[in-house]
Amino acid sequence: MKAVFALVACLPTALSAQHGTVGAHAAFGDYREVSSDLHYRGSGGGLTASFTFKKLGIEGSVTGITYDPITGSSGTASFKATQLDVRVRYYIAGPVSAEVGFVNRKMKPEFEAQSVGAVRLGARMSYPLGPGVNMGLRGGMLFGSKFSGGGTVSGVGALELGLNMAVDALRGRLRLTGDYDFQRMARTTNGGGGDVPVPIQQALGRIGLAVAF
């Protein structure tokens, strides 16, 4: 959270050839862990900020979701997930940009689900649908994943996929955003009897409103 505020505070608004947004969003998600029995759904909210300067773009969001076990789930208690996403984007050519960043998701209570941190590396394809309407499709891999309960992920075991859109209103001063983020981590633990698969999967949808400057 502090990082997002620091990011927004540092935005040099007086410069030209740049623009930024600050906004809030509502989030809803689906979280699964270990097996289909541990299945949660929840909703929440968060803050988003982005800044673009020439070919460089940086965006960050912090989202808090309270996950509740669905009916039939073996989970017994709800938990709150606070996820920080940071992405730094560099335009390459055509619709393609390269993207690096990290994700940090903390769970509360700590042992109800796995907290995770990882570095992301991927690409994004952006396309303007029309005046003030943009969409993007992104995909990437998560490297160096760390879990609060231990475990490892193979090189291509942690993947993410995203779909986002932005619709400008009020001559670009207001921006309606939608973002879909799917993560799958093929986590394994070694319980002494060999590797045990304990995968984690989250689908997160965010719908927000941002002020552009």
Binding site: D30, R32, P131, L161, M165, P199, A203, I207
Partner: protein, 346 residues
């Protein structure tokens, strides 16, 4: 009948000398009588009276008419050599004198032409009136010299005479004078005289033509706001409506759903598409709305390039005009006009 045929050439010869230039008339009474005798084909009487008139006091005009009458009379009497001599006197008195070939018999004309070749005169000195920028034009001067002679053309009237040509010439001569001083500067405004002096041995003849030179400013060129015949083209164009936004939204949403399905861990049960469907649905709604809306103007690359080239061309042309105007402000426009002569040549 035969007598009538003989009279025809005589009548041709008897054609009166053409009237002199201007509206002057013969003042001397004897000369008038001589003219009447010539008109009556009484050549002997005309000859006697013309010679008598020569001994009287004649003004320049009458003297030239007297010699001309003698020349015509000698021609009529087939005394060609005497006719030539008389014409030489006429030419000396009136170098610009010409006979009308349509009203004068060939015999008289040939005598006149022969006389022209035997007298050194500079005739038909003409200076064309002209306007030009100093250093970029010239004044046309032309004259006719009747014998091969060393001809020197000078401009008098300035601080020092300007020799503009010196050559051996015969017949018509065409010169071009740039109206510049020896230093290259344009001649100052004022009145000048073009003097053409022809010399053969001890004989010389000069003719002159006064001219007036005036100075003016050279017009500068206005800067161009556009190139004639070339208009700027619109730099944006509205593309036709297209289903592409909707199609792309559909494709992107489909990829997201398919990717979610493909990446889902089998151990965790069937994937949740709820989140992808909500965002993808929103995206398709946006794509549908964009598809229905009037497309945004798109940059017309060809037109932008064309306009850029046009602007560059215009800027280049204006830079040339500015450079040219700097030069023009340092220039002077000369107007050269011939003025009426006050006397003949000698």
């Amino acid at each position: 009948m035969r007598r009538h045929l003989l009279l025809v050439p005589l009548l041709l010869l008897a054609a009166p000398p053409p009237p002199p230039l201007g509206a002057q008339t013969i003042q001397n009474a004897t000369l008038r009588r001589a003219q009447e005798a010539y008109d009556n084909l009484d050549y002997r009487q005309a000859l006697t009276l013309a010679r008598t008139a020569q001994r009287e006091r004649l003004n320049g005009f009458d003297r030239a008419r007297d010699y001309e009458l003698l020349a015509f009379t000698y021609s009529a009497m087939d005394s060609i050599l005497r006719a030539v001599d008389a014409f030489k006197e006429v030419i000396s008195l009136e170098p610009e004198r010409d006979l009308d070939p349509t009203r004068t018999s060939p015999k008289v004309l040939s005598a006149f032409q022969v006389a022209l070749t035997q007298v050194l005169v500079v005739r038909q000195l003409r200076v064309d009136s002209t306007d030009f920028v100093g250093g970029q034009g010239a004044v046309a001067i032309r004259y006719t010299v009747t014998q091969p002679a060393r001809v020197v053309t000078r401009i008098l009237g300035g601080q020092a005479p300007l020799k503009i040509d010196s050559a051996v010439a015969n017949g018509q001569v065409n010169l071009r004078w740039q109206a510049r001083l020896a230093s290259g500067d344009p001649v100052p405004a004022g009145s000048y005289t073009v003097v053409v002096e022809a010399t053969v041995g001890q004989n010389n003849f000069s003719a002159s033509q006064p001219i007036r030179v005036t100075h003016g400013a050279v017009d500068t060129l206005p800067h161009l706001l556009s190139l004639p015949g070339y208009d700027y083209l619109p730099e944006t164009e509205i593309p036709p409506k297209s289903w592409k936004p909707m199609g792309l939204a559909l494709v992107y949403s489909g990829i997201a759903l398919a990717g979610t399905s493909a990446l889902s861990q089998g151990d965790l049960g069937s994937a949740s598409f709820r989140e992808a469907e909500v965002i993808g649905g929103g995206l398709m709604v946006a794509g549908f709305v964009v598809m229905l809306r009037k497309p945004a103007p798109q940059p017309a690359r060809g037109n932008i390039l064309y306009n850029r080239l046009l602007r560059e061309q215009l800027a280049r042309r204006n830079a040339e005009i500015a450079q040219d105007n700097i030069r023009r402000r340092q220039q002077v426009a000369l107007r050269v006009v011939p003025t009426p002569r006050t006397g003949g040549g000698r």
